[in-house]
């Protein structure tokens, strides 16, 4: 079952790298990211800045933990929660006809938002998150558990 082990390792590393990559531009440009958060029109104005300040660092920390294989149960749960929230926000805005730049990897808002592409991409990220979840939480027997330790 080595191939399965490497597959799960790869998905976790990829998810961690994605979260790290997603955090960089937002950390560098907090004002632009705050504007994107505001454009989603989901949060009350009083929460926009605090989310724009803290969310990129949460993404970055989760990315680091996933890549390092450290605190995996907590990191995987939070990463999946974030991915679900992002996906739900896109669906919610699509349903009410609001076309926004997702601000997922860049804080630039030039060009038309490509909501359908964002949804496809976020669906793939959800699958990655689910694979990482399986790696951490699936029931394993004693010997098998030892063999699958990474």
């Amino acid at each position: 079952m080595r191939s399965g082990r490497y597959f799960f390792l790869a998905t976790r590393l990829l998810l961690g790298a994605l979260l790290l990559a997603a955090s960089v531009d937002k950390i560098l440009h907090p004002e632009d990211f705050a504007k994107i958060v505001h454009n989603y029109m989901i949060l009350p104005d009083s929460l926009v800045n605090i989310v724009a300040i803290s969310l990129p660092w949460l993404e970055g920390l989760l990315g680091l933990l996933l890549v390092a294989g450290f605190w995996l149960p907590g990191a995987v749960v939070l990463a999946n929660a974030l991915l679900l929230i992002f996906f739900s926000a896109l669906i919610f805005n699509m349903a009410r006809g609001i076309d926004v730049h997702c601000g997922c990897f860049s804080t630039k808002i030039t060009g038309s938002p490509q909501t359908s592409w964002y949804l496809v991409r976020d669906s793939l990220f959800l699958l990655l998150g689910f694979a990482a979840w399986l790696q951490v939480f699936r029931p394993r027997g004693g010997a098998r558990h030892q063999a699958l330790k990474i």
């Binding site: 803290s54 920390l61 989760l62 605190w71 907590g74 076309d99 029931p139 990474i150």
Partner: protein, 188 residues
């Protein structure tokens, strides 16, 4: 690398380690809860410290009112135009109205005579749409919804291109319709 339960970190998993031979599923949930809480606290602490130290840090509670969002607008007039002012300017042909929403939304209904320059496609359409509009014209941009930022973004872009008399009618399309002012569908 650590194992998937991240044993030994701040003692969070000592309990997990003891119980794991009997209840691996339940203890991982417990670990996830504790670690998740710790991750949230740590990331929040880091983000607040960095935000407090950096020059371009944000206030924890921002002012997202239309007026505050237009504070950077270089306009000779008050950036936000009231509906009464907009109505008077419309009736006297005193301003050029520009719809900042996407083309398909504009075509389904807009202020009568308004041009369409979607703020998200500003670069592509600026030259074509603004060619007949002299830079000293009074311009009123609008979109739809109290929180809609398209009209503000468009006003900022136009201001940066030398249109120094640009104003915004906040929630323009809705308030215009509510007042039964002239509108039309389709393109110009």
């Amino acid at each position: 690398m650590r194992d998937t339960e991240g044993r030994g970190v701040f003692g969070l998993n000592t309990l997990t380690h003891i119980k794991s031979a009997h209840e691996p599923g339940r203890t991982k949930v417990g670990s996830a809860f504790l670690q998740g809480a710790a991750i949230l606290v740590i990331s929040l602490a880091i983000s607040l410290c960095v935000n407090a130290l950096r020059k371009d840090g944000l206030p924890l509670k921002g002012d997202w009112s239309p007026k505050a969002q237009l504070s950077g607008l270089q306009s000779a007039e008050e950036p936000v135009v009231t509906l009464d002012e907009a109505r008077a300017l419309f009736l006297t042909n005193g301003a050029v109205f520009i719809d900042a929403r996407p083309a398909e939304v504009y075509l389904s209904g807009h202020i009568k005579g308004a041009l369409n320059l979607p703020s998200q496609e500003f670069e592509e359409h600026f030259s074509e749409v603004m060619a007949p509009v002299p830079p000293d014209s009074l311009i009123i941009t609008y979109c739809d919804g109290e929180s809609c930022t398209l009209s503000k973004d468009l006003a900022m872009e136009l201001s940066a291109r030398g249109y120094g008399h640009t104003r915004v009618l906040v929630n323009g399309w809705s308030v215009w319709l509510d007042s039964n002012l002239p509108s039309e569908t389709g393109g110009k």
